[in-house]
Amino acid sequence: MSISAPVTGTPADTEAAPDAVISLRGLSVDFPVGGLFSRTVVRALRSVDLDLERGEILALVGESGSGKSTIARCIARLERPTAGQIVVDGVDVLRSEPRRASREFRSKVQMIFQDPFGSLNPAHRVGQFLERAAKLHGRATDPGQLRELVENLMATVDLPVDMLDSRAFELSGGQRQRVSIARALAMDPEVILADEPTSMLDVSVRIGVLNLMRRLRDERGISMLFITHDLASARYVADRTTVMFAGELVESGVSTALMARPAHPYTQLLLSAVPDPLRAGSYDPVERARLRAAVLDSPTCPYDGDPDQVCSRTEPVRHDVGPAADRHWVRCHLYRPAADVASRALAVDTVDG
């Protein structure tokens, strides 16, 4: 079932996909800038509608500054959105627990971070992370049970049990990320938000971590929001991919289909930029400039004139790409993204000489 926002409807009217473990509706985040008395804000997210289904890995792809980390931090209740709803298992948590996230929420929604060197406290031992997480959420009552639980966690993430006594700095980047994943698993979550978990890892260990994520989805049915700027990893690990630009979503669909037939010029731009040895030498500056212009201010939209999928310059309407069952949608090309953020995001800074 696709989600196509009605032409004039407000995002909040959209019905959620039936099996969505997390739904975002109209999520907006403004960051205040300037001094104490300034009113200017930077729009990090503008009215985002997103669904994460049960047992799927959804990749959120975009470049730095696109707002993708902000989405994860909002869902993890580390940031407070300016507007919108975060619906978890059918309940809008911003309304049901406005001040502070409850323990049940924390056990349902977990997060792993980008920097393996910064996400584990250097003062603690590996075992302490896991034990603390498990104890906090009542997963084990006596020391024996706790020990067993913790050892099982290490086995799940393919780490040796004797590593429990090590301190974080004795571990490699890949090992630390696995420890972070193990800590998240200690709470038996339904959702794991992964904020660029492999970007700072050595290239040869990335596949291992990605494979671990696939296994967790396949064997435990954990849903994941996989945030990345790397389209290749997104395609490898995620069932569906959503592309983000300047704080708004521009396209979404099944990963393989989306990358085979990208509908939005920004997705095309991203795909053309991924280094691919098979396409060596194909960089075309003219085409690049054309795509850039199309992203910022496209003159045409392929759905223009279609009575069922009406275009709009001012509203971010979504068009179905192909049959509705494919659930591949693209934002209307005619829609003009907000000038300030967009031009920064696509920093056109060269002079053609």
Partner: protein
């Protein structure tokens, strides 16, 4: 990927033979670079690939004699255009640096002086090394910016007013200002977004074609190298494990580590098959010297029975 403009009597611009660098810590000594040998010809782009900790940055810094204790060059020789770099004194070294060999460091774009305009920083190079008067230096600075496709009006901008990609272009421009024979680039695109990254790589390729300098290009991202480099080497724990033409390396990697690095990039087309990475516990110890398995394609032989599998997919 392109062919090398060599002639038989073209001496290599850089000749590194059996270079070894050690770090002397209080409790142990670590060999960061272990008997590494390679050559870079005139106008050649040589790519050095490897992951963090393999010693590639250390090797690059050694070439420009930038290493300081506890890092010590403990063996081998480095000849630049025939001269032995390791025996140069302070004056000669100063004359060599930037004029003949220049380097773009990792995160160099973040190391631009934040309180000087970009123009002043470029002018500095000319007034210092070539003793040009300010006006001439400014003119050269403007030319330089145009070379990297930046509007010369930006000479008056401060680094923070430029985007990441522009700052990197400035840094590259500064490195080629004195038309060095060899440009060493250490991860020039790591901090950049993928779109800007491709443009910077194209810029580097264009500059190289125009000015004809040799490049030592260091990165952990193999796929970037394929497009740019003529020849490549893969480094692991201070040693080379494979050296070949870029295209050959990609089409026919012989060492399992090279294969692991190449496999680490899932394909953008075709079926999504589970990939097996390099196991984290896998180590290649006591890597033997390179052997020429095919013409121009050197590989360190792997002992029979080495398990490299990365565990379950």
């Amino acid at each position: 990927m392109s062919t090398l403009p060599t002639s038989p009597d073209d001496a290599p611009v850089l000749e590194v033979t059996d270079l070894s660098v050690e770090y002397h810590g209080e409790y142990r000594t670590v060999r960061a670079v272990d008997r590494v040998s390679f050559q870079i010809g005139r106008g050649e782009i040589f790519g050095l690939a490897g992951e963090s900790g393999c010693g590639k940055s250390t090797a690059a810094n050694a070439i420009m004699r930038l290493l300081r204790p506890p890092a010590v060059i403990t063996g081998g020789s480095i000849r630049f255009r025939g001269r032995d770099i390791l025996t140069l004194d302070a004056e000669e070294l100063r004359a060599l640096r930037w004029r003949e060999v220049a380097m773009v460091f990792q995160s160099a774009m973040n190391s631009l002086n934040p309180v000087m305009t970009v123009g002043d920083q470029i002018v500095d190079i000319f007034t210092t090394h070539e003793r040009l008067p300010k006006s001439k230096a400014r003119a050269r600075a403007a030319e330089l910016l145009e070379l990297v496709r930046i509007d010369p009006a930006r000479l008056r901008s401060y680094p923070h007013q430029l985007s990441g990609g522009m700052r990197q272009r400035v840094v590259i421009a500064m490195a080629v200002a004195l038309r060095p024979h060899l440009l060493i680039m250490d991860e020039p695109t790591t901090a950049l977004d993928v779109v800007v990254q491709q443009e910077i790589m194209a810029q580097i390729a264009e500059l190289q074609r125009e000015l004809g300098f040799s490049v030592l290009f260091i990165t952990h991202d193999m796929s970037l190298m394929i497009e740019l480099s003529h020849r490549m080497a893969v480094m692991y724990a201070g040693r080379f494990v494979e050296t070949a033409d870029a295209s050959t390396m990609f089409a026919d990697p012989l060492h399992p580590y090279t294969r692991a690095l190449i496999n680490a990039f899932p394909p953008l087309s075709g079926p999504v098959t589970p990939l097996v990475g390099l196991g984290e516990g896998v180590r290649f110890t006591d890597i033997p010297d390179l052997r020429e398995e095919r013409p121009g394609h050197w590989v360190a032989p792997v002992p029979v029975g080495t398990v490299i599998d990365g565990g379950r997919p």
